[in-house]
């Protein structure tokens, strides 16, 4: 049954543009990671090798995911969702503390085993679940005045997103929570809303922001927002990272300092250069030309994902493709926006550029799902 639906030759149905763009990003990512971590002595220096392992592992996962007809995911959506939530709860019980936030689960012991971040996978699971919801709730606009969904119709999907959002934010992992929110908004934007409901929602969200600022956000998160509003206020404190990221990028100029020649990375002014700040390393090495090429590549993947959605066979496929594209887009936008100073400092990895097993696998599984939708656009009717 798995192979049964793929009744055309692989070469014809594989989405080559998507595949090539993703491979390019991954390749450049590894090359850049080598430059980024070449300055570090000891463990970090071999990260690019590990990253290759993860890319291969993620690639295999993507192939597997792409091979399974996505309607099986549709059927099992809520089961998967339940599993994801369970893992997030487990984080609180078994979680390992990294930088003051419990995000990880160790498997097989701290030394020899590996650890993974359930919140990463939750991004994909949320995309699947929301797609499932839209799929099962084909609300067609009624009446000449437009009609559409009311706030009441949003309760279920809001809960679907809200539960993992709350769990992740509680870890605390503001970055992932924001991505979850981004996926939710992007996927739900597919459906038509009543304008009155939209208005109410806007007012409600504003009120919520006020509450969040005063009662929910941690001090360090608030400081980051402050320093975003006035970047030069506290260069040595909260804004130290983004300040040096901007210096590195600006230092790159039009054509860059040359591969592995960026001074700010070389002299350790870019902290977390492998996870949150690989882009400044790249922009310093390759300059504006390189940076724009990367922006172009990410834009292409996202736009191609929207194209895949538009050609999808069913509502689930379309919504899923949008969810995955949104995931890639918000990651790229938040990360590059953060390092260039367009957005406050939020720890969000740059897809396939940042080092990290969970992140790489998540993105590649997402790409597998996109491929899945793309390959099956003409296969059943």
């Amino acid at each position: 049954m798995i192979a049964g639906n793929v009744n055309t030759r692989a070469r014809d149905i594989i989405d080559w543009p998507l595949l090539i763009a993703v491979l390019l990003i991954g390749l450049v990512g590894v090359v850049n990671l080598y430059s980024a971590t070449s300055v570090a002595k000891g463990g970090l220096a071999d990260l690019y090798v590990t990253q290759i392992y993860w890319l291969v592992a993620g690639g295999i996962a993507a192939v597997v995911v792409a091979a399974i007809d996505y309607r099986h995911f549709e059927r099992l959506a809520y089961v998967i969702y339940g599993g994801g939530i369970l893992l997030l709860i487990l984080v609180f019980i078994l979680g390992r503390d990294i930088h003051g936030a419990a995000r990880w689960i160790d498997i097989g012991g701290k030394q020899r085993g590996f650890r993974f971040q359930p919140s990463e996978f939750m991004k994909i699971i949320l995309a699947i679940s929301l797609a499932k919801y839209l799929h099962d709730d084909p609300k067609v606009p009624v009446g000449p005045s437009g009609g559409g969904r009311t706030l009441k119709d949003l309760i279920v999907p809001a809960l679907l997103a809200g539960i993992p959002f709350a769990l992740v934010a509680k870890q605390p992992d503001l970055g992932t929570a924001l991505i979850l929110a981004g996926i939710f908004v992007s996927v739900m934007a597919l459906g038509k809303m009543r304008w009155q409901s939209l208005l109410t929602l806007t007012v409600g969200l504003s009120a919520f922001s006020w509450v969040a600022w005063n009662y929910i956000l941690h001090d360090y998160q608030k400081r980051r927002i402050y320093s975003f509003i006035n970047p030069e206020l506290d260069i040595r404190g909260a804004n130290w990272h983004s300040h040096h990221a901007r210096v590195a990028i600006g230092n790159g100029g039009l054509f860059g300092s040359g591969y592995m020649k960026g001074t700010q990375n070389h002299y350790l002014f870019l902290p977390e250069q492998q996870s949150d700040f690989p882009f400044p390393v790249f922009a310093e090495d390759w300059g504006l030309v390189g940076a724009l090429v990367m922006i172009g590549l990410y834009s292409f993947v996202v736009l191609w994902g929207i194209r895949i959605a538009s050609q999808a066979k069913d509502r689930f496929g379309a919504a899923l493709a949008i969810g995955i594209s949104a995931m890639v887009f918000w990651h790229a936008f938040f990360n590059i926006g953060m390092v260039t100073g367009v957005l406050p400092v939020v720890g969000v990895p740059l897809p396939l550029f940042s080092y990290g097993g969970s992140s790489v696998t998540t993105i590649l599984i997402g790409v597998g799902l996109l491929m899945n939708v793309s390959m099956r656009r003409n296969t059943f009717a």
Binding site: V247, I249, T263, D314
Partner: protein, 663 residues
């Protein structure tokens, strides 16, 4: 949940794709524009910041010049000293600190004080680190100028002394200690006021004060040669660019050094060495000669050049104490000392010259033909002027100039003064440099005073009286001179009337750290004026001065030396009597009411080479107290020091090389 019939539902989404694509393009364009802004428009700014992030300037220390005496004896130099630091935030106060305190030999009180300070800084650093991981922790100084032995112990126990560092810093030292205190002065650490003044001077564009820029921790000359010749001695700090990474570590690789932009280094300019005209042995001789006296000064000068051979002022302080920083107790002791050790008594204090002024009064009388060498005056011990009775020390009868000088007859000089007039005497005294600063160029110098009729009219409400003239003739009243002025004036007597400016620095030399330092600037003697004198008049006065020492009954006859032929004049200057004065023990009032003792002279008489002036504060009679000191110094110079110097500069030649010297 049927597979069929889904297709039309996808239509609900259809209109959204375009908007989504536009949103993606829009937001990505924001990023692209921001990148253009950073990398194209602001590239130069950020490249500059990036450069400044890694390229730093470190200071290259310079070395302060060495001060030597005329024959090369080191009077001021720099020695190695060690300061011990700890990093309080990393210091184990329970284990490492007691060990360190033990090695340094800290007393319990000192140890507790320092520990409290370290603990406070450690807590502050650790608190700051908690909120700001990039907070830079600082070192704290534990002890300055630690001995080499202690540093040795620290080296051997290095492994168990975590977070303890020691660095070498140059420290000024004065091997001759208090001997050359007033002459050399001292250095100490630059104060906040100095740095503020420097900042102000830089803002007004006035850079002449210090020459090169001072930084906190620098030491500057505070008095004497160290202050006056600061610009030459200090040298100029250099700098070097280095590459530092974000953690503050030096990077010295080939690629790292390629980051440095030209110029990468400015070498420090070492301070110039200063060679003085004085002879340390002669100053030491003056100190030995002064052993029995509490306070006073000796100045010895070369008659034919004006070069100073000795400048000595007693009491003095060991300048090394100032370099290390005075303790409160030391400072209080110095300030409360009634003998004023900080004052350079050779030039910062003016005294009544007493009879040492008589040769100049005599010269003035001879030059103006007020008297002749053969004129006589009657000395009956008392000279009555109105209601005032002016006294003489003796009863000299009919006296000529020569005897008047030899016996220091006041009555003769009263008549002489009356005939000559105060302004004629003042004019000649001014010719010899009295009443004006000598221009020695170090320390504070007072001009003294040679009163004139106009001066008295101004200061005594137009009430000039003859009595003022009489007092002026014997160096009392309002006449005041410094020891240095007197020495220079006697030198002019000895060389036929050439008044020189006192010269203290002979030459500026390049540092002798590598081989022999070369002379960069050689200072020639500076003649202030040639005084127009009738040679016979001068001869007559010098004759009298010779008699003072060599004729029986001469005021210094009993103290004469057989080894040097000296011509000079004693002086016993009355002081303003005090009954009670704040800060002076009543039991020592008698001392402060005693006369000042003077002797000034030239030697050898035939062809004077050096002039000497000695003042013993509250020493009593000049003949008994000051003359022996002068004789002792002159004896040492002519019998020991001068021959030794000549031997050194002209090493004993081999017989073959100098056949002419054979008998």
């Amino acid at each position: 949940m049927s597979l069929l019939g889904q297709r039309p539902d996808v239509g609900e989404f259809r209109k959204r794709y375009k908007w989504m694509a536009l949103t993606v393009l829009g937001l990505m364009s924001v990023l692209a524009f921001k990148l253009v802004h950073l990398q194209l428009l602001k590239h130069n700014d950020y490249a500059a910041i990036a450069h400044d992030n890694i390229v730093h300037r470190v200071t290259l220390a310079t070395s302060r010049g060495v001060v030597r005496d005329r024959s090369g004896v080191i009077l001021a130099a720099s020695r190695e000293s060690w300061n011990v630091y700890v990093v309080p935030a990393r210091l184990d106060l329970d284990k490492t600190w007691p060990r360190l305190a033990e090695v340094l030999g800290l007393g319990p009180v000192e140890r507790a004080t320092i520990e409290q300070r370290l603990r406070a800084q450690r807590d502050a650093d650790l608190t700051a680190l908690r909120t700001n991981p990039k907070h830079r922790i600082h070192e704290a100084i534990v002890r300055e100028d630690v001995s080499r032995d202690i540093i040795g112990s620290l080296e051997t126990r290095k492994a168990e002394l975590n977070a303890v560092n020691w660095i070498s810093v140059p420290m000024r030292y004065y091997p001759t200690k208090e001997l050359t205190f007033h002459l050399l002065g001292y250095v100490n650490e630059v104060s906040k006021e100095d740095l503020d003044a420097q900042t102000a001077a830089q803002q007004t564009g006035d850079k002449k004060e210090w020459g090169t820029t001072l930084q906190a921790g620098d030491r500057v000359g505070r008095s004497g040669i160290e202050r006056a010749w600061e610009a030459y001695l200090r040298g100029q700090r250099g700098w070097k660019k280095v590459v530092l990474d974000a953690r503050g570590n030096r990077r010295n690789g080939k690629e790292d050094l390629a980051q440095l932009d030209e110029p990468t280094e400015q070498s420090p300019v070492p301070g110039r060495d200063v060679r003085l005209t004085v002879d340390a042995d002669l100053i030491a001789s003056a100190r030995r000669a002064f052993a029995g006296q509490l306070a006073g000064s000796v100045v010895v000068v070369e008659v034919k050049t004006g070069r100073l051979l000795a400048l000595y002022s007693k009491p003095a302080i060991d300048p090394n104490d100032f370099v290390a920083g005075l303790t409160t107790k030391q400072a209080e002791g110095i300030l409360s000392n009634p003998l004023h050790p900080l004052i350079d008594k050779s030039m910062y204090e003016a005294y009544f010259p007493g009879s040492t002024m008589k040769p100049f009064s005599a010269l003035a009388a001879l030059q103006t033909n007020a008297i002749s060498q053969t004129s006589r005056e009657m000395c009956e011990h008392i000279y009555v002027l109105g209601k005032t009775r002016f006294k003489c020390e003796g009863f000299h009868g009919q006296t000529k100039l020569h005897e008047a000088i030899v016996h220091s007859c006041n009555i003769f000089f009263y008549h002489l003064g009356e005939k000559t007039g105060i302004d004629a005497m003042a004019a000649l005294a001014a010719d010899f440099g009295f009443g004006q600063r000598t221009g020695v160029g170090i320390n504070h110098e007072v001009p003294g005073l040679v009163p004139t009729k106009a001066w008295y009219n101004q200061h005594y409400g137009g009430q000039f009286r003859l009595g003022f003239t009489l007092n002026a003739a014997i160096g009392q009243g309002n006449t005041k001179v410094t020891v240095l002025q007197l020495a220079m004036a006697y030198a002019a007597l000895g060389n036929g009337g050439n008044l020189y400016a006192p010269q203290i620095v002979r030459s500026i030399e390049s540092p002798a750290t590598t081989g022999d330092g070369g002379v960069e600037i050689d200072f020639a003697p500076r003649l202030r004026r040639k005084i127009n004198l009738v040679p016979e008049n001068l001869r007559a006065v010098l004759d009298g001065m010779h008699g003072v020492v060599n004729e029986p009954g001469g005021t210094a006859y009993k103290e004469r030396t057989t080894k040097v032929d000296v011509a000079g004049k004693t002086g016993t200057a009355q002081v303003s009597k005090i009954n009670n004065k704040a800060g002076i023990d009543p039991r020592s009032i008698w001392y402060f009411n005693r006369d000042h003792a003077w002797f000034a002279g030239v030697a050898p008489y035939d062809d004077p080479e050096i002039a000497v002036a000695v003042l013993v504060e509250h020493g009593g009679g000049g003949g008994h107290n000051a003359a022996p000191i002068a004789m002792r110094v002159l004896e040492d110079w002519f019998t020991k020091i001068k021959p030794a110097r000549e031997q050194a500069s002209h090493p004993k030649p081999s017989a073959a090389a100098l056949p002419a010297s054979k008998p």
